[in-house]
């Protein structure tokens, strides 16, 4: 599986113009805050519309301004893990985990709850409400929720940034397991050097809305 992006997005004075490819494994988008890294992920997920360009994953076009293709977020099968876990506060942990699982087309499901829940060590939390969990637990549930929707591409937007050091050490092994166990490309946004060194198979540096070599 692979992933391809070549887009321009203008908003006011800021122009984001990026082109790169990513293969299976974990690719880090690395750069200072405000460089446009999150906007790139939002365009891939379909919650931010590029001004022009093309995005394709696994041979399918997600967005192409030339052919006016713009798949809705729910048709892109792109998993998104946010800096804040964004769990649904009115649903239990289990309902959160199964939200996307139930919506995924059966033929395309590759992640099973019986496998993913123990892998993330969240089996004992299923009955709980998200707001009663620690930050690290919330983020593990959010990771599980995204994986269980069986995405063909996984976006992670500074998933450790809001956690303290101990919690970061708690989550990192799980991310490594996913990186090694899943066959899909993972785009991982961070501005932390330590995470780049530990996780990255490939690094793409973003500065001022551009890819820099």
């Amino acid at each position: 599986m692979s992933f391809d992006i070549d887009v321009v997005c203008s908003r006011g004075d800021f122009e984001l113009a990026v082109a790169f490819q990513a293969g299976p494994g974990l690719t880090v988008l690395f750069g200072p805050s405000g460089a446009g890294k999150t906007s790139i992920l939002n365009m891939i997920a379909g919650v931010l519309k590029p001004t022009r360009g093309r995005i394709a994953a696994d041979g399918q076009v997600l967005f192409d301004s030339a052919t006016r293709t713009d798949l809705k977020p729910e048709h892109r099968r792109v998993g998104y893990i946010f800096q804040d876990a964004r769990l649904f506060p009115h649903l239990s942990v289990e309902q959160n985990l199964l939200y996307g699982y139930k919506l995924a087309p059966e033929a395309g499901r590759y992640a099973a709850p019986d496998h993913i829940i123990p892998l993330l060590g969240i089996g004992h939390l299923l009955e709980r409400r998200p707001l009663s969990l620690s930050g690290g637990e919330q983020q593990r549930v959010a990771i599980g929720r995204a994986i269980l929707a069986s995405p063909r591409l996984l976006l992670m937007d500074e998933p450790l940034a809001s956690l303290d050091d101990a919690r970061k050490q708690e989550i990192l092994p799980y991310i490594e397991r996913l990186r090694d166990g899943l066959k899909i490309p993972i785009l991982y946004v961070t501005h932390a050097r330590a995470e780049v060194d530990r996780l990255a198979a490939a690094v793409i540096r973003i500065e001022g809305g551009k890819v820099v070599a």
Binding site: D84, R86, Y99
Partner: protein, 231 residues
């Protein structure tokens, strides 16, 4: 002291009926307006906003007069309803319900709008990336999270409708059994000799209903904020 006479019961029953139907009809309209005002940007949004909140600050007699000019038997909307549906609402309890709905709408929209604005749109985005359509995200995330505010809005609208006076008496007059709701009955009792007793009884009832509605609405609003913020 608290034995209500048949005439007083009649007024209470009518007020409950008017309150129920006015709230039932306001709910979809009010929710649509609240959603649009909370989540959409469009030309003339401030004009729509002003129209919705206008009955809150306009003298109720003016709102009643406008309704009379529009929905009275000679008014354009009144003529339309009469000729197309064979329905007359002027001087009927349905007209009282319409006046009550218009007067209650600002309260309803305000409560609903606040609760919709409190729902983080990023949760809706999360739902979309998990495969939910716009409608599914709406029904599984936006609606349940704003539900306490919706209920609070409905309660406030009901309480307002239950006790609306100025616009109602202007638009549909004071007809016992048809348009003489609780506050209009209180007013009528005060115009008659020895009417203070029944007037005070109905007034106390009115205070109890209004108070219950405010407490209930507050409680609902607290629930929505508690659910959306970390414990």
């Amino acid at each position: 002291m608290f034995e209500l006479s048949p005439a007083e019961w009649e007024a209470v029953r009518l007020s409950l009926k008017v309150g129920f139907w006015s709230t039932a009809f306001s709910l979809p309209v009010g929710f649509f307006l609240a959603y649009v005002l909370a989540r959409r940007e469009f030309p003339l949004k401030s004009l729509l906003n002003g129209l919705v909140y206008l009955p809150l600050v306009l003298p109720p007699v003016v709102t009643g007069l406008i309704l009379l000019m529009l929905f009275g038997t000679q008014g354009p909307a009144g003529k339309f309803l009469e000729s197309v549906f064979g329905v007359t609402i002027a001087f009927r309890w349905t007209g009282a319900a319409l006046a009550a709905a218009i007067m209650g709408l600002p309260l309803m929209v305000r409560a609903m709008r606040l609760s919709i604005e409190a729902v983080d749109t990023r949760l809706e985005h999360a739902a979309r990336t998990l495969g939910a359509s716009w409608w599914r995200a709406f029904f599984t995330v936006t609606l349940p999270l704003s539900l306490p505010g919706i209920i609070a809005g409905a309660i406030l609208s009901f309480a307002k409708s239950f006790g609306e006076f100025g616009a109602t008496i202007t638009f549909v007059s004071n007809i016992p059994g048809e348009t003489q709701t609780l506050p209009i009955a209180i007013y009528s009792f005060l115009q008659t000799p020895n009417g203070e007793g029944p007037a005070v009884r109905l007034a106390i009832l009115s205070v109890v209903v209004s108070m219950a509605a405010i407490v209930g609405a507050e409680w609902m609003e607290r629930r929505v904020t508690r659910r959306l913020r970390p414990a």
